[in-house]
Subunit: 283 residues, 6 copies
């Protein structure tokens, strides 16, 4: 009987969220273990398929991570670094694009297709969808920052009933220019803004944002987040994540979530339960 | 952690059913305690609202039960009985219609309206929606059996986004005829058939169909049900219920459920969990 | 030949009015003898069917009159009176609703259905269509005055090709509240305003508004009507009628007619002939 | 009071016919006095406007009669005759077309425009709408018989809300061919068939078809009509009229009427009263 | 090879113009030799058909010229002249209309029909499309100047996929008025304005506007054109042409062209080549 | 003047073809010099943009050629060969996909975007658009042959107004399978069939099919082509091209063209001139 009450509670919760998010666009930044473990990949595909089946409109933005580095190594392309950040040379840019648009993007498309979430993969070059300019006046080579997003192609894909899978490559709108390499977290935020998405979720390899005692913080405001950065509680690789989250919130996205991609079905748990499983940041 | 796994299981279950029943018509025969207890009424309204919100199309068919008897008594209208079944006299018919179409129907409409499941109440007389003829060549007076259902008015109400609430009164298609009093369980079955409903559920004041040891039987076929009737395991008031269920199944409805209306949120539990809570009868 | 000229004149007249009122909503307050005499009922149904067939959109609002009183008597429900007006107690309210929504409303629906004017009966509770508040701060119990009308359900019924038949019961938008009893004349006026009706017609048991010499006045303005009230020429039961008419005109309805429901086909004669048969009040 | 009863009867009659013919195409062959008397012309235009206003779709086919003869005379173009029928020479054909398409057609268009029946005039050459071949292998010169009608242009005009006014000129579908002169009665019948018209009416300068005692025959069948021709009761100029009528009926038009164009509003009287005023021929 | 390069150049040119004018309305004033030579007529029809086939919307406005004069002569209708301009008497007006609407208009319609450019001929009387008032307070009789154009009938014809062919006759919007005779060049300009046409082209029997040395001027502005008139370089019959052109430009038409109708396919050459063949006047 | 006549001839020709191919799908296999020379690339993009602008629907299918080989070399991936054909190992397949879907596909998309022919790049994995099975029972590793094409995604892209650019990679419809490498010529043919294309054109680095004397053959039938193969006149690399062409013709494509991609604007010249510039093969 107690189990029945819990089941009812889970159902009431989930139905409420399903009703609330019906027809809404949900941008998911896909990366980390969830992108590499075979078992987690399948759970992820299943979650995307179910969210879509109950009426939401998931959009996947992915990074490339280790595959890019390993192909650069295989090809003996050396990278220069400024302040610890890689400078994308022309040679490297070719590799970045091949890996992101040609390998990883199509792998995710195939994965989702297997789970009845028919997907179409695009990069920011398709229909000149994402336009970028060089970061820091070109100090980082072909690493770019987004200048403009024309989301109509993504709306078309959604209207046709497919899940858009987006590689974070941008066009330079110049003939014979190789295009730009874009940070995937920032791309997800900018795309979420352009699509007027309800939520953006970042799948990471941590539990979420942790407090001084390394315990998960369930909810944060922008102000509180900035405070934690200043205090050094949020540090390292988490800083760009929360900054991307804040960017999205300032652009009109209602909620940004940093969740644990190592946990099975973390997407469902975060979106459809009132307790959630990661950190939710709001205005 | 164990709780999270259970939650995920409940979610996967529910999402699968929601996907499966999206856009499907679900006919609910509403009666018994669920119709009289204030607390159960609210849970019922909440369930209907949620089923509708996630994309199903619930249709409510109600009976009148005790209210009719009590108004007949107040008015000193005596009833004749044949084989234990009430004969509906012309005087009684007026009372039956006033209670069903004028009191109970509008009460349910108001109840659902309060829970964001905007409802419209009709009887079989509206648009001549349900046509009947006298039962047993008139031995039961104005008690009728359904001859024809023209469901287009119900489809219109569904298309306009409302929950149809139906009083089991039928038209005789004759000028100045008072119409017919219809058994609500049979009306629910016939309406489910005419609407090509996916499911019909009967809310009762029992756990469901019980076996010889008074334990709930989870699933039944028509054949097995008939056997249990013959053996006397199914008896009394349960017989007309299962007969109505069988009628619906023979007319093309996929599943008929007899569930416990005394249990809170029994509709959600039966429709959205794989274990269910009552008896499900299939072809 | 003279007859042919008259026929031509009648046709030219009628065609002009049909052209003028094509697609317009015409609200008819149905009551009095036209609602009780079998022969007049049929003529009324025929008129509604023909008006609809030639392109107008009739909407019927009905009262309950004697049926309510007689059922209250049968049930020994005593009524308190203030200034000659009945106070609707909770017990009485139940009777009012049963008679209006359950008996009379469905009778009219059946009547119209027999004359190819397919009808759907609703009360103000359906889809929370009419919201009311207590009259005079509750001195009259559950007698209400209309606060808000959301006409979309009536437009839906009209768009689906049916004649809406409306019982003057309103919702209180509160859980477990029995709703309100509304004056049918005023309900007709308010509904005509909300529907942006072209005309509202009140079927009465008099010839129309009479002058000092008891002769029918064909046309009146609001100003002239008020004058006649002040002078005592309009008195008694006619005062609430003309007030309802004036209310409609002030709300934007073009013309309000008070006509003799005892005359066969009075609706056709008033709407489709230039001489008319009753009193027409304009701004 | 007696007058009111007659008015009601006329209204009930007319409303029934209006309902019956709503949306139906009614082809009117316009000619004779109705086309020449200024007073009758206005009545005709008024009738067409009213029929259109109440939902029918009138289509006017006209002849040219005396205007053609008089212009031929003015231009000293002599005509050859075979069996009393004029042979259309090339010179005459030019005159026929100028008078029909350039003078009479535009006069009727202007007339109808003045009565709020916005009209568009076309001939069979527009969009190659009527194709003809020479009559009797060319013995009658450019007098043609209709081979094919492509009515889509007329449907377009009707859909755009205009009254089509058609000059009985046909195309030969050959470059530099002057086209064909077509008998207007037969053109009306063929057009009525091609448009799947409900009725075709021929305005003539007689009362209708008369019996042996010169009294009007109200209704005829094709069989009876042929009998009357054989017996010589129908003779002279009435024969081609009834033959055109029979042609239309055989092609699927429900009723063909031969009516007195000299009578004011004869169209209304024939179409909207049960007694009618001319002769109605049915299958 | 050189030929291939020229072909490529012609194609690139033409494709650019086709793309630019896709969906645009092009008004062509048709007259002169192009209207009388059998060979030129066919080339004209072919050009109109091709312009239409590649997506433009040609509209033809025609004059009547010599045919009117010759029929007036045949009928011995004498004309009065004021300042060298013909006064249109009532008798002459009948002839003008018969020739324009009945003869020439239908000839052009038949011609275009033969070249798969399905055409519909109308005059300003159809649907009261062009309204005029007397020129110079009636000094020129039934010669009128355009007061108002309601282009919806022309848009309907274009939307239905036909080429509109327009006779320059206008309605007076008065019962029994014969209408007005309109200058065809001015009619073309006014129609182009009312249709928001991209271009208006005047087919003439000259090369275009010539300079002092009788050499063709390729492009002109309104200012330069007025200068040339003042200087007497533009004179005689060319003055009304350029004035009609200027009228169109002032009304919003982008370009007006005066081209040589004696040259085969002059329409194609002017519209689809960058060099053009006549004079193009712009704001 | 002679030049004008030639221009007119070119225009008449081109307009006829434009009319004929309006709305038709034209599949272009893009490869060879046209894909590598910067100048030819721009001409190609211009041609595609113009064909699209005048109403055709170009679809580009590309190969990868030398880029694949060079990346394989850089990565030291050795290839096995059977009968001179490369066997695609799993390692090679990764490179093939990265180059085709990630590098070349997006380069072409960017190129077309620069010329106002907004393009979207996809591979056969997107929406599981092209399904393949191993060639010769797997002897060639991950080289596949097309089993099924579901063209709806390409129709969506065309309907949205974009040029589809297709990489010849197919899905295996199996989880974790790397997919298949498909011959681009055959892919173009199969896609042309699935899209019910009017034409398929193969851009090559030869003039077209040559006869025994090395002179271009303008038109061929399937029969004649097979004969030339048997006689050895068609040989070497031209054999798979003509076989792909024949495959398309047998599948319902009207014409297959083998044209010289080294010639500027060869697409326009072949499609829009009656002389053409390459070899056209028909049934």
């Amino acid at each position: 009987m107690k189990k029945k009450i819990e089941t009812v509670q889970t159902l009431l919760d989930a139905l409420t969220y399903i009703t609330k998010f019906r027809g809404d666009i949900i941008v998911v930044k896909y990366g980390g273990s969830a992108q590499t473990s075979d078992s987690l990949k399948e759970k992820f595909a299943q979650d995307i398929a179910l969210l879509k089946a109950v009426g939401m409109k998931p959009v996947v933005v992915h990074g490339g991570g280790k595959s890019i580095t390993s192909l650069l190594d295989e090809l003996n392309i050396k990278s220069e670094f400024i302040d610890g950040q890689r400078v994308t040379s022309k040679e490297a840019m070719r590799v970045v694009e091949m890996v992101l648009s040609g390998e990883i993007n199509k792998n995710i498309v195939s994965l989702l297709n297997s789970y009845e979430a028919k997907a179409i993969g695009i990069s920011g070059k398709d229909a000149n969808f994402i336009k970028a300019i060089p970061k820091d006046e070109g100090r980082f080579g072909y690493t770019g920052i987004i200048e403009e997003i024309n989301p109509s192609i993504v709306f078309n894909i959604l209207d046709d009933g497919f899940v858009p899978v987006i590689a974070p490559i941008a066009t330079a709108s110049k003939l014979n220019h190789p295009g730009f390499n874009i940070n995937a977290d920032l791309a997800a935020s900018k795309i979420a803004i352009a699509l007027k998405a309800r939520k953006v979720l970042f799948l990471t390899d941590t539990e979420g944002v942790l407090d001084r005692d390394k315990k998960l913080i369930k909810t944060l405001t922008i102000a509180k987040t900035n405070e934690l950065i200043k205090e050094g509680v949020i540090s390292g690789g988490m800083i760009p994540k929360v900054n991307a989250a804040i960017e999205a919130l300032k652009g009109g996205v209602k909620k940004a979530h940093i969740i644990d991609g190592r946990l099975e079905h973390s997407l469902l748990l975060e979106i459809l339960t009132s307790s959630g499983i990661g950190t939710c940041i709001e205005l």
